[in-house]
């Protein structure tokens, strides 16, 4: 029997393998970030490094959210609560003169974990929109509790007396050290989350996202796994909060505002869920975009909003999805050298193609009765043929308009 001869299937990657494409991309990203201090020094702008620090910290937060969204299928709309809780816990112990690493960091992590356990115990019982609403509600609760923390600044926020001390010394005060500490923690988070997703636990979590009914039937209790994932993700985000508070030496209720939670989701989706480099890229792109656009005009949100809408419409896989699509095309296109204009064209083309195929699939869905009952469908088809033709023509016109408009805009912009 040929099947029995196969023995262990090819799908067992126990032997050490070369880095996958995704891993190489992530490694490249880390390498780029590692050179950021050099760049910032060469253009004599410590501000760039500041933005870099924020990007690295938010990348940690985005990774923790990706664990929930990408692996668990749990879209948390209250993830920023953990940013605030981590920062508040460390800030509060610091304001009592206990701002050393061996107290402040455990305080931040424990507080986030406890909050995640308490709220998650209720939240992960729900799914879909209800999960979104309940996480939002808990985060807003945390937000309002923070605004009423009068001894710790209330509405105005809490200024830390100093950054967290390591062994009695102000090591983290040094900007370069702080940046590399953040980067090291990001890399550790990336590796840890990667292992977690591939582990037994991660496989159960992914399985639950894929088909809960089946997973229950083979003996997994969804609640326990989801709650554990929620606590892990919350604790990781608490770490990001601890770093964020350290960077600003300040924490305010705004850290946990629902807008911040929304931004975290945007980072994950903009970057592309389902990969680990996606959310990291998303955090980077979001913060850089915010920074660049806010220099252009104070009404920068007017540009950012539509840009995000366009991403959602034309590149539903986010940056990671576009890169993957582009890579597939590139492999097909006889390994032509990848120039930047071509990359842009690839990205746009990939998005448009995908949206078109989605529409086609949608139409098929609409006509599915035909398979079930021919006669009814034929009648229905005859009845709505004119309407469909008009609809199709309208859609085509719109799509081609959008395509032409986008392409010329981008090309013009590129030539400039």
């Amino acid at each position: 029997m040929p099947a029995a001869m196969r023995g262990i299937p090819a799908a067992s990657p126990s032997a050490p393998r070369a880095l996958s494409f995704d891993q190489r991309l992530a490694a490249g990203l880390f390498a780029l970030l590692a050179f950021l201090p050099l760049l910032s020094r060469s253009i004599a702008s410590s501000y760039l490094l500041l933005v870099g620090e924020r990007a690295v910290i938010f990348a940690i937060a985005a990774l923790s959210l990706e664990l929930l969204i990408g692996a668990g299928g749990l879209v948390s709309f209250g993830h920023a609560a953990f940013l605030g809780i981590g920062a508040y816990a460390a800030g509060i112990v610091a304001s009592h003169g206990l701002g050393t690493l061996c107290i402040a960091l455990p305080a931040a992590l424990t507080a986030s974990a406890v909050f995640a356990l308490a709220t998650g115990a209720i939240a992960v019982r729900t799914r879909g929109v209800y999960f979104i609403m309940i996480t939002l509600a808990f985060a807003q609760m945390a937000f309002f509790i923070a605004t009423s923390l009068a001894p710790y600044g209330g509405d105005d926020g809490l200024s830390w007396p100093t950054r967290t001390m390591v062994l009695g010394r102000h090591i983290l005060k040094d900007q370069l050290t702080f940046f590399y500490v953040c980067l090291a923690l990001l890399i550790a988070t990336y590796l840890g989350v990667g292992r977690l997703i591939a582990s037994r636990f991660g496989r159960v979590l992914r399985g639950l996202k894929d088909n809960e009914t089946r997973m229950q039937a083979i003996g997994f209790t969804p609640y326990l796994y989801r709650l554990t994932a929620y606590v892990i993700a919350g604790t990781l985000c608490g770490l990001a909060g601890f770093l964020l508070g350290n960077q600003a030496e300040f924490v305010s209720p705004a850290y946990m505002h629902w807008q911040r939670s929304g931004e975290l989701i945007i980072m994950v989706l903009l970057g592309g869920t389902g990969t680990l480099y996606g959310p990291m890229l998303g955090a980077l792109a979001f913060l850089l975009l915010e920074e660049a656009l806010s220099r252009l005009t104070e009404h920068w949100k007017v540009i950012l909003g539509p840009a995000l809408v366009l991403t959602a419409l034309f590149a539903s896989g986010g940056i990671a999805g576009a890169i993957a699509a582009c890579r597939r095309r590139r492999e097909a296109a006889a390994r032509a050298p990848l120039t930047l204009p071509r990359l842009v064209r690839h990205l746009l083309g990939a998005g448009l193609e995908r949206s078109r195929s989605c529409r086609r699939a949608g139409r098929r869905l609409f006509l599915r009765p035909a398979h079930l009952c021919k006669r009814v469908a034929e009648k229905a088809r005859a009845a709505c043929a004119p309407a469909k033709m008009a609809l199709g023509r309208g859609r085509q016109a719109l799509a081609s308009l959008a395509e032409r408009g986008l392409k010329t805009t981008v090309e013009r912009w590129w030539r400039r």
Binding site: A11, S14, G207, A217, T221
Partner: protein, 249 residues
């Protein structure tokens, strides 16, 4: 007489005014293949769902190996030895066929709260999974995503998953539904190899398959069991013929 593995005692369930189970009493004996037949809407799938734990009965008890499992969750029952297939196949579409089965092995071998070692590389899990896939002749498709398998292959994958659970009681909800003639014959042959290895409760519309497989048959009509016994006796039963088989033959 053989002992009863599964006992249903006066099981009742209704959805509003619709009674899907009315005081159902049933004994499934160790090692037998027990088929439940009945016209559409008789409550067969609801009965399977109540036995597997997906649906809570309004009244009555479900006893498995002398334990009352009426209030146990689906997952807890799976650990006791329940395994099932679904009328509409339930597989993990984005996982390979192998991983679908490997997860079932994982569920019963050791804790799944392990966070570091890559699960896909666990040779013991994969070996057991390949064996199970092999027994339904799917080993050649081990690396294919389950979502890309044909309908009949998904049916067999469900059986492979169930087998990997090393079940004591196998609940099969219309395993032949939607399968072609050839595929049906194949499934019947596979199920025949399972006879005696575990107790099987089979809900099926395909009468040829039922008579080829079942040791005993119960007939469910409008939430009541109107007859139960050896295939020949059930086939000859005039009430059954009137209620159900009469339409078919």
């Amino acid at each position: 007489m053989k002992r009863a593995v599964l006992k249903l005692e006066a099981l009742s369930k209704s959805f509003g005014a619709l009674r899907v189970a009315e005081a159902i009493g049933l004994e499934v004996l160790a090692g037998e293949t027990h088929a439940i037949i009945g016209p559409n809407g008789a409550g067969k799938t609801s009965l399977i769902n109540q036995i597997s734990g997906a649906l809570a009965p309004d009244r009555g008890r479900i006893v498995f190996e002398d334990r009352d499992v009426t209030r146990m969750s689906v997952a807890a029952r799976a650990h006791l030895g329940f395994a099932r297939s679904f009328q509409i196949t339930q597989v993990l579409p984005h996982f390979s066929a192998l991983e679908n089965v490997a997860l079932a092995v994982q569920a019963r071998s050791g804790s799944s709260f392990r966070f570091w070692q890559a699960a896909a590389g666990e040779a013991a899990l994969n070996r057991a999974a390949v064996r199970s896939l092999d027994s339904v002749e799917l080993a050649a498709r081990a690396d294919t995503p389950a979502g890309a398998l044909s309908h009949g292959e998904k049916r067999r994958l469900e059986i492979a998953i169930a087998l990997a659970q090393a079940p004591k009681l196998l609940l099969l909800d219309e395993p032949m539904a939607g399968a072609g003639i050839e595929e049906t014959q194949r499934l019947v042959a596979t199920l025949k190899t399972l006879k005696g290895r575990c107790t099987i409760l089979l809900v099926e519309h395909d009468m040829q398959a039922v008579f080829a497989l079942a040791d005993r048959i119960s007939v469910l009509v409008a939430g009541r069991i109107i007859a139960s016994g050896e295939p020949q006796a059930v086939r000859a039963n005039p009430t059954v013929r009137a209620a159900y088989l009469g339409e078919a033959t």
